[in-house]
Symmetry: C2
Subunit: 240 residues, 2 copies
């Protein structure tokens, strides 16, 4: 019976650690231990390999995921196989909440970029929580609103800017949010980057080449050195 007792101890410890992780999330960080434990008990941990599907566009939406570890990419796919990334969510961020709040199905697909772990929360449990906890509702409103801003920007890019402009803006955003404002260490493949920028790998390469020949950047593998930030901002048509 010794092995059985050890298993139960690890499980209790695991749950404590999980609520600790949730306490660090923006969305759920305001909840007390009891609420968090209840939420964990209603849902469940999900583990995914890298490049594994979390859900498919059109699937019936039974719940949402909070990313605990790893990254999850949300994207649309064309019949011809091209993809457009909508967003990439990291630890602490919700995925699939739109489908839980309105409609019947997931409006896009989601898959992991890395080996990942999520907390799955069934639809009703989440709706109960949000309607009872004003702070969670407010935090969720804020998160959705940030997402709408991001989508509005992407729409603007796709409609009103060419690929080099879009890439320049994307690189600037990466540099601004990174540790080093001059050296970007791309944490996704070039292929994924092209899906985020809204183009195909061939065109992305060409756009990188243009920016490099113009003297704005210099690339080596996955590293991008921003040589002339003002020029990059000019190409991107944003403030430096």
């Amino acid at each position: 019976m010794v092995g059985s007792q050890q298993d139960e101890r690890e499980q209790a410890g695991g749950r404590q650690r999980l609520t600790l992780v949730l306490k660090q999330t923006t969305l759920l960080g305001g909840l007390d231990e009891d609420h968090l434990a209840q939420l964990v008990a209603q849902g469940g941990r999900r583990r995914f390999d890298a490049n594994q599907s979390v859900f498919f566009e059109g699937d019936r939406a039974t719940g949402l995921h909070i990313v605990l570890e790893g990254r999850v990419r949300v994207f649309k796919t064309s019949p011809r196989g091209r993809e457009q990334t909508l967003m990439i969510m990291g630890p602490g961020e919700p995925v699939g909440e739109v489908a839980v709040l309105s409609g019947e199905t997931y409006p896009a697909s989601a898959e992991t970029l890395d080996p990942s772990e999520t907390l799955y929360i069934p639809r009703q449990a989440f709706l109960d929580l949000v309607s009872r906890e004003p702070e969670v509702a407010m935090r969720l409103l804020s998160a959705l609103s940030v997402r709408l801003r991001s989508f509005a920007s992407l729409i603007e890019d796709l409609s009103l800017r060419d690929v080099s402009e879009r890439l320049a803006a994307h690189l600037l955003a990466l540099a601004t949010e990174g540790a080093d404002e001059e050296m970007i260490d791309l944490d996704v493949s070039k292929s994924q980057l092209s899906a985020a920028v809204g183009t195909v790998p061939e065109t992305l390469s060409r756009a990188f080449g243009q920016l490099a020949r113009a003297g704005a950047i210099q690339t080596r593998g996955r590293k991008v050195h921003i040589k002339d930030r003002a020029l990059l901002a000019q190409v991107a048509r944003v403030k430096p």
Copy 2:
């Protein structure tokens, strides 16, 4: 004094009528008369001519508008003058709420398509209401979520579909939500329609011509007759 008393009666009557209108809105329809009256008192009615600006992208976000009458278009503009419509809001719908929920500035511009009237609600008044009234918060979450779905669709269109496909899909959506599933009475100019589809008027005309020559539609001024719905759906790559 007779004129003065009449003015006060009309104002009280106008406020009663206004709360009645608000009672019909999805967002605020669950509120009682007192709350609605309080909200009205905190904000104010705004009247706009057709094609008048409501707010500009980048302006400091002091509050949001509920459309009472008319229509308000939210859009992005490129330095070269092209426009991309994000959404068109009609009576009962909020405009600018994203900016109130996160960030400092409006992320897009808004202008009226028709002579319009709005209820302006200052930022703090709205945030107070949402945090105190769970039902309003839930309705707002649902509304934002619908909007995210709509944006995701637009992103997919702009990135993964060509103009004729986009126009076909747009016409199908209009026909589906209209009174007559075969005859669409366009309620915006062709120029505005092109901004919604993500192109320029010349290309829109050409796309209309393609769909007409293929036998899917027939146009006469602002009326579009859907002659072959299945074909239109096939072009749009959606279900009929």
